[in-house]
Structures are given as structure tokens and as C-alpha cells.
Amino acid sequence: MDITFSVNGERVHLDVEPRHTLADALREECGLTGTHLGCEHGVCGACTVLVDGQPARACLMFAVQADGATVTTVEGLAGEDGELHPLQEAFVAHHGLQCGFCTPGMLISALHLLETDPEPDRETIRTEMSGNICRCTGYSGIVDAVEAAAGVLREPGPAS
């Protein structure tokens, strides 16, 4: 089936098999391997992307369903020049990752959280990030990072 959608601001045309998930299409057709596949049945959160601004498990959506949609993956976070997003900076600074497998999903979930609630308390961060599993960090560093990034993003900085 022919589909067209936008990924990180770029228009993509693909011919996909209906059974291919959005995660498969992103990784295999678009070469965007930042979206990780852990469980492939909705529980781990590693594949979380934004579809029309809403978080979605890319393993629970078929690529054909994204026809006409706007998708944001972890590759869409950094600037054109490769400058890291404040969330990515904060994950580095606060040990928000070790092996990095869960990180793309964590970053996208955190991005959506901070877009809807710019000043979340630690409890809110924990609750909102509960759909993303990390086997390495013990989560404290992740909560620290999201909290720190929220602070940075709230600062009135030079318009980018």
C-alpha cells in the first residue's frame, strides 16, 4: 500500500505491507533506527514516537495507519547542526542513560510531558514516565534529567 507521511519535517512516500508496523517502516524503510524495538507488544515503551503530537507505541500502529500523519522520532530532537536538545543534554549530565536502549522512548515521552506540563513535580514525572521501562539506571537519573530539562526549557532564552 502506498502511504505518505512526514517524519521529523521531511515528507516520505513508502509502499508498505499492511502488517508492517510504524516502527518497522521507520527503522527499515526510513533508516531511522533511533526508534528501538524492545518487546514489540506495547509494554516497554522503547518504540514511543509522537504521531500528530501525541505519544504512540510505534510497535502497536501499522505504518498504513500513519498515512497523512506527522511523526516525530528521537532523530527529530537535535538541531540541524547536531546541537543536542536540552532534554538530551540533561540525560547526559544526570546519568539518565547507561546502555541507551530505552533512551529514545524516554526522550519522546519526556518531550510530550514537558509540552503538556512545563513544571512537573517528581511524582508527576514518575507517573507520566511509568510506561517506559529501563533495565539499567534505576530511574533516579532519568527523573533528575527530566526535572533539570524542565528548568532549562522554562528559562526565557534567546529565541531559536
Binding site: 502488517r19 506495547g42 515503551g45 495507519q65
Partner: protein
């Protein structure tokens, strides 16, 4: 794992969805939010030959107040149920469903049609005495939520029928309580208390294959008994299933406590 191959049909109307299901002759499935169906397909616990995507059928999403009830379209996402203010009990319950990314896509119709014994919305449906509207090849029919759930993951819906709307009566007082191991997990036990047309209804989820009314508790309350007496009477009546998440005894104790909390939150003390 990956799903087995299937034909994909993007239905433009309820009629088209139902016709496609009829033609699939029992081998078709509706695809709504996909938050329960796609895991089932990925694990190859089912391999339907046709998936009918209903996500782009217009007019099936939304919460509309109507007299003493609200009408919830089948495609209303869990996140929209959390945000709406017309039916606070529904909002309270929907907050407990999974995680943000699950609530952003999962639908009310999908949750009710899937009929997971530990899902929130079926218990709210039974607790408030909701009615569902179902479209089939021969037209539409309505049935009470209590008659819809026939077993774990089993409903009265025929293979070529589609649930289009749920009408939830608006309780005058209500309370919702749930016990789950971690936030976002399916419930171990949950209770809904709802005063509808002057009668207090109590429903439980996670106790058996389908949501159950705690009739003993309802009788105690109708007779002027206390909250504790009602909870105790309900627990005595229950024969919960035991599994690795909890023994029958544990579930009975938690059920009594969840009933007490739901009734307390409803202000029925």
C-alpha cells in the same frame, strides 16, 4: 514477533465496516486503537485475514451529555475521557488505564469490546448500568452492558457487529477505587460505586471473568446498613479466582477494602 499477513481495509463508514466484516465470514477483526489487538496479533494468538480500520470513520468520537446520561462514541480515546468533565466517574476511572501513550490511542469502544476482566471501562459500564449500541448487517440494536459481557475477553457481539456508542447514566454520587501493583498495570481489583436514580449500585472488576455487581453490598446499603457492613457482606459473597498475582483470600480482602473506599469517595458513609 511480527503479525501474520492480513488484508487492510480502511472503512469510511460504519456500514462499510460491517459489510466488510460480513464478507470476511468470521475471519475479520475491527482495528480501533490497536492497544489490545496488535499485541494479540504480534504474539500470533490470533491471525485474522482482514483488519477493518475504523479510526477514520467520522462522527464516532466524542462525549455528549444527554439528559441524565452521556453518550460516548466508540472511537473516543481514553485520554479524551480523562479530559472531559461531563462524567467525572468516567474521567476518574480512565486515568487508571495504562500509560499516557496507551491512553492517547486506546478507545472506549475497543476497551468494552475487548472485555478484559481487569479493564476499567467495563466495570464503570456495569456499575452505572450503561447501554451499548451495536451496528450489524441487519441494522442496530441496543443491549445492557450487563448482558454484553459473557466471559473473559468474550462478549455477545457477533463477528460482523460493531459497537458504535456507549450510553453511561450520570450518577448523582460516585466513587472509584482500584488496587494495582504498579501505576499503569491492569487492576488486581477495582470497585465502582454509583448512585443512579436513587439506587446505589456497586460493581467489581478483577474478581472473575466479567465485571460483577456486589449485590449483597447493594442490599445492605438499601436496608440502611453501614459502609463496613456492606463491604463485609460483599466479600463474604465473593468467590474470586486465584492466580499468581494474588490468592482468592487476598483478593477478597482487597475487594472489601476497595468497596469501602469507593463508597466513602461517593460520600455514602
Amino acid at each position: 514477533m511480527k503479525c501474520a499477513p492480513f488484508d487492510y481495509v480502511r472503512a469510511a463508514s460504519v456500514d462499510e465496516a460491517v459489510t466488510t466484516l460480513s464478507q470476511a465470514d468470521g475471519d475479520g477483526k475491527i482495528l480501533a486503537g490497536g492497544q489490545s489487538l496488535v499485541p494479540v496479533l504480534a504474539l500470533r494468538m490470533a491471525r485474522p485475514s482482514v483488519l477493518v480500520d475504523v479510526n477514520r470513520i467520522p462522527g464516532l468520537a466524542g462525549v455528549t451529555p444527554e439528559g441524565d446520561a452521556v453518550r460516548v462514541g466508540a472511537l473516543t480515546r481514553h485520554s479524551a475521557l480523562v479530559e472531559q468533565t461531563h462524567h467525572p466517574l468516567l474521567a476518574d476511572a480512565a486515568r487508571w488505564i495504562g500509560h499516557t501513550a496507551i491512553r492517547a490511542r486506546g478507545t472506549a469502544g475497543g476497551s468494552i469490546a475487548h472485555a478484559d476482566p481487569s479493564a476499567e471501562l467495563p466495570v464503570v459500564a456495569v456499575g452505572t448500568g450503561a447501554t451499548v449500541t451495536v451496528a450489524g448487517p441487519g441494522g442496530t440494536r441496543q443491549l445492557a452492558a450487563e448482558d454484553l459481557f459473557v466471559g473473559a475477553l468474550m462478549t455477545d457481539l457477533a463477528e460482523d457487529e460493531m459497537l458504535t456508542e456507549v450510553r453511561f447514566p450520570l450518577p448523582t454520587r460516585w466513587g472509584f477505587a482500584e488496587f494495582a501493583r504498579r501505576h499503569g498495570d491492569f487492576a488486581l481489583v477495582m470497585a465502582v460505586a454509583a448512585e443512579v436514580e436513587g439506587t446505589v449500585r456497586v460493581a467489581l472488576g478483577g474478581i472473575g471473568a466479567v465485571p460483577v455487581r456486589a449485590e449483597a453490598a447493594e442490599r445492605v446499603l438499601a436496608g440502611g446498613g453501614s459502609l463496613r457492613e456492606a463491604a463485609a457482606a460483599a466479600a463474604e459473597q465473593l468467590t474470586p479466582t486465584a492466580d499468581l498475582h494474588g490468592s482468592a483470600e487476598f483478593r477478597r480482602a482487597i475487594a472489601a477494602e476497595m468497596i469501602r473506599r469507593a463508597l466513602t469517595r461517593a460520600g455514602l458513609s
